[in-house]
Amino acid sequence: MSTAEAAALQGPVLVPTFAPVWTLTRRDLLLAARRRVEALLPLGFFIAAAGLFPLGVGPEPQMLRQIAPGVVWVCALLAAMLSVTQMFSSDDHDGSLEQMLLSPLPLTLQVLGKVCAHWLSTGLPLVLAAPLLGVAFDMSAPAILTLVGTLLVGTPVLSLLGALGAALTLGLRSGGALIFLLVLPLAVPTLIFGTGAVGAVEAGLPAQAHFSLLGALLIFTGLGAPWATAAALRISLD
């Protein structure tokens, strides 16, 4: 269903201006729920890819503990990039993307709504699955907690950046690999601060600075990326 139809189902226009955005979020989550297997593929990739590392580098716990933050974070990044290719293409195919552009609601806010849905359906599962990987990599409890915390703040950033990549490459054959190449440089700070936080906690140091930096990144990206994504969508569709 298009945003207009879904918004019409909301009832009389007594709702605050932001409501249609969450309508879009709900619609995307509904669509994801209908294709549950597809929606869970990134999670499966995340666990499988991360789980591959001990098989490749050996089961020695001390080394696993050392590489764990980096491995989990890189796999989260890869899973996010894989999941983001479909963000706008299905809307593009059924015409709802054009409706989004024509809608009186600012495209930036609509993008934000879609990114929220993407994070809820793809990013949040990664956050919840991370403790399992933490245990598999023999991480200490404080380290696992920190890892989950950094992913909680960091995966929304990945969704925001991924949306930009998806909008720029809309309709292109190159797909996932190109998105990865475009988004990877932008995701480096998140990766660095995320893994740095876990490393700090493992060394017995406080991770407050890292989380502050991650939070700042989230705000910075949250303010800039949806606008840039909206611009990219207009460029791709004109």
């Binding site: 930009l164 720029l168 490459t169 292109l172 054959r173 190159s174 190109l178 190449l181 475009l182 990877l184 440089p185 932008l186 480096v188 700070p189 660095i192 601060f193 740095g196 490393g199 930096l213 990144l217 910075f220 800039g224 840039a228 611009a231 990219a232 460029i235 791709s236 004109d238």
Partner: protein
């Protein structure tokens, strides 16, 4: 729209045909300038400048490494500038020039990384060092490759130009953030980072040589970017009258 008399305006070379002519005349001069500056720079840097107290003669790599790194960053800024200009004012020549700059910028990034590695080996013992500057340079290479890949993957010229402009802008805005995070990451993992330039107390001859080499690389960049831009102009403007008269004559 554009002035037709011979007075130059800011928009004179926005017309691909005029750019094509101007660039064609300028290229030989740019090569001559590049050659002269390179000979002078290398003469001073490799021939006259004294050896470094700590590093020995391996330091002379900076006369190539530092100018290459500077160019890689300058060209990225220029590329982003012209791309965004083309996007904002809908001037196709600006976008074409941005696309012409990209491979040259990427080349200098590769050169900076290569010479950085060759400098790192005798200085720090390993070929590849994840020092902050080299790591940032590597990420800059990825930004270039991303720009080139995106503009190549899109068939529609205008969409390719504008998408590239947005990507270049996003990259330019994020570069300080990326640089900061990499420096932070590097000091975290390596303790005190080795100063690649050997401190501010550089002999005057060394500074002069580095400046001359930078200007030489600048002239080179103009020469190559102009050449490539002329090719891109021909590719895009094939069906226009001025190109037809050009190839007929």
């Amino acid at each position: 729209m554009f002035k037709n008399h011979s007075g130059l305006t800011w928009f004179t070379y926005a017309a691909p045909s005029r750019f094509y002519g101007m660039a064609g005349k300028a290229i030989p001069w740019l090569w001559a300038l590049c050659l002269a500056l390179t000979v002078a720079g290398l003469f001073i840097g490799f021939g006259i400048a004294p050896t470094d107290f700590q590093q020995g003669d391996s330091y002379r790599i900076i006369f190539i490494h530092v100018p290459a790194a500077w160019m890689s960053m300058t060209i990225y800024a220029a590329m982003a500038f012209f791309a965004v200009l083309g996007w904002a004012f809908n001037t196709r020549m600006s976008s074409m020039y941005a696309r012409a700059l990209a491979p040259t910028g990427a080349m200098f990034t590769v050169l900076a990384l290569w010479t950085g590695a060759l400098w790192g080996k005798p200085t720090w013992g390993t070929w590849w060092v994840w020092d902050a500057r080299i790591t940032t340079e590597f990420i800059l290479l990825l930004l270039y490759l991303g720009y080139m890949a995106l503009t190549e993957a899109i068939d529609d010229e205008r969409r390719a130009a504008n998408a590239g402009a947005l990507l270049a802008l996003v990259g330019a805005v994020n570069l300080p953030v990326i640089r900061y995070s990499v420096v932070w990451w590097n000091t975290l993992h390596q303790g005190s980072s080795v100063s690649a330039a050997g401190g501010n107390k550089m002999a005057t001859t060394m500074l002069v040589a580095m400046l001359i080499m930078t200007l030489a690389f600048w002239a080179y960049s103009f020469a190559v970017a102009f050449t490539r831009a002329r090719a891109i102009v021909l590719e895009s403007e094939r069906d226009t009258e001025w190109v037809r008269s050009l190839t007929r004559g």
